[in-house]
């Protein structure tokens, strides 16, 4: 579904992604793990055309994404839920969700259809329904994350890019978010590219994983293999510390 070949992206003068290649099949959840500054967010922003690549190809459903602006990418069916939620704080929860369907409103799509999707989002995250009239900025972190995801879903994405959905959230809320991702995959077949620092939880749910280190893909494989891998354990799962100290 998505094929990324030899992408190079510069973030200012920093060479943030060096010859990165990865691919996603339809209906897959793929996770991208790595330390802070490894280039995970840049990867998602490169796909979303926020920071366009300087070289390489991104092919989505047989289509080259080169030179498209962020709104065109959304139109093709790729939605990003950005790091730190980035909801429109002064607007109400419901307005935030309506704006998620902005392109569908522009495309003169039937209101009933959009309304139905709104109800679906409320069914997925009942807490948003309770707070639909409230300004988004007054929500808790977890609720804002749900809102950001709901907003992205309103565009009916075929590929969902999630950037650190668990960041700064209580474990129970994280569970709720992850359950929603799983539900999306099962019920709608949404393909998900999940960027996480919470490597263990991400790998538990994903079908495949990539490990990114200083802008390069250093490992790729099944979650079970990655969880077994010594380097991954040491770097991201906090195991094997003893050996490091003793060596």
């Amino acid at each position: 579904m998505l094929k990324i070949k030899n992408i190079n992206t510069y973030y200012g003068k920093v060479h943030a992604l060096k010859n990165v290649s990865l691919h996603l099949h339809k209906g897959e959840i793929v996770t991208l793990i790595g330390a802070n500054g490894a280039g995970k967010t840049t990867m998602l922003n490169t796909i979303s055309a926020v920071t366009p690549p300087s070289a390489g190809n991104i092919i989505f459903e047989e289509r080259d994404l080169a030179g498209l602006s962020p709104d065109r990418i959304v139109k093709l069916g790729i939605c990003q839920v950005p790091e730190g939620r980035q909801v429109f704080k002064p607007l109400s929860v419901e307005d935030n969700l309506h704006l998620g369907a902005y392109l569908r409103y522009r495309g003169r799509e039937g209101r009933a259809e959009i309304r139905r999707d709104l109800d679906d989002v409320y069914a997925l995250f009942p807490r948003l329904l309770e707070r639909r009239k409230q300004a988004a900025g007054t929500l808790s972190g977890g609720e804002q994350q749900m809102l950001a995801m709901g907003r992205a879903l309103m565009a009916r994405p075929r590929l969902l890019l999630l950037d650190e959905p668990s960041m700064g959230l209580a474990p129970l809320v994280v569970q709720e978010i992850f359950r929603a991702i799983e539900q999306l995959r099962q019920e709608r077949g949404t393909t998900v590219l999940l960027v996480e620092q919470n490597a263990k939880a991400a790998l538990r749910m994903a079908g495949r994983g990539y490990v990114l280190e200083t802008g390069k893909v250093v490992l790729e494989g099944l979650p079970s293999d990655l969880l077994e891998n010594n380097d991954v354990q040491r770097a991201y799962l906090g195991k094997d510390k003893k050996e490091i100290w003793e060596r």
Partner: protein, 294 residues
């Protein structure tokens, strides 16, 4: 005329100039909210409105209603062209650079207007006669009523637009979080263009409805633009009621100052208020300090 009547008179005429400042100020605020810049060329669109109406009406002998419509159209087009040629090509410019460019743009537009229409002051006929209306001790010109009505309609329309249409909400979304707006599929550049179109249309309407009272010339935009800016600052750059009240307060204080002390101080009053606001309440009179959960 006793003092009470005088005061009523000053307040009434203050409110009508204040309404003009409000319209111009809302234009400032709309562009500021969409782009983060202060468009100092805003006053020139006010001038263009008045001057173009004069041109269509007096030189081309077009009926007044049509002249007003044409002039609004021309000024809106000018706003769109201005954004296309002067703002959009600069992809990575900082706000301060863009602000300086708008100042350059305003000088250019003023220069073109001077070359086209000369340096003379022109007058427009009032929209519906010069018969003053008595209103509780004060007299009002029918044109004042036009000013109130047009301002009210424009403000109400913009309020409806920004809080009840998806395009209006999308414009607000751009001002709250540009990057996220792009990520939900809003074409941010189109919204910026749109904001220039709306605010030049508003500015030109302000210029048109005040021209019959104060006359118009190629350089009226400077002062009116600064007064509108002042209104927007008092209102904390809100594109709604804050700036409207800002404009009205400014207009009334100016009129009172000019009437009770000396008309020489009229403009000084606006700038003293501007400075005081910037020193004491830079977030505007009506806005509470930023408070939100992160």
């Amino acid at each position: 005329m006793n003092l009470g009547q005088q005061l009523a008179q000053y307040i009434l005429s203050g409110l009508s100039t204040g309404a003009i400042y409000a319209l111009i100020g809302v234009g400032f605020a709309i562009i500021h909210n969409a782009t983060g810049i202060i468009n100092f060329a805003q006053g020139e669109f006010v001038m263009l409105g008045g001057m173009a109406t004069f041109f269509f009406f007096s030189a081309l002998k077009v009926p007044l209603v049509l002249a007003v419509a044409l002039a609004t159209g021309v000024s809106t087009m000018a706003g769109i062209v201005f954004e296309r040629l002067a703002i959009r090509p600069l992809k990575n410019a900082t706000p301060i650079n863009l602000v300086i460019i708008t100042i350059g743009g305003s000088i250019l537009i003023r220069g073109i207007a001077m070359l086209l229409w000369g340096k003379d002051t022109h007058s427009l006929p009032t929209f519906s006669g010069d018969e003053p209306i008595m209103l509780g001790g004060a007299t009002v010109m029918p044109q004042h009523l036009w000013i109130f009505a047009v301002t009210l309609v424009v403000i109400v329309c913009s309020k409806l637009f920004f809080s009840h249409t998806i395009s209006g909400k999308a414009m607000r979304a751009c001002s709250y979080n540009r990057r996220a707006a792009g990520l939900v599929g809003i074409d941010v550049r189109r919204m910026v263009l749109f904001s220039f179109a709306i605010s030049s249309a508003m500015g030109s309407m302000a210029g048109i409805i005040i021209a019959p009272l104060t006359m118009t010339s190629y350089d009226v935009g400077v002062m009116l633009g600064l007064k509108g800016f002042c209104a927007a600052i008092i209102g904390g750059m809100s594109s709604g009621l804050g700036t409207v009240f800002g404009g009205l307060i400014l207009g009334v204080l100016e009129a009172l100052g000019a009437g009770l002390f000396s008309s020489g101080y009229k403009d000084a009053i606006a700038f003293i208020i501007l400075l005081l606001i910037l020193f004491i309440r830079p977030q505007g009179l009506f806005r509470r300090g930023e408070s939100e959960r992160v």
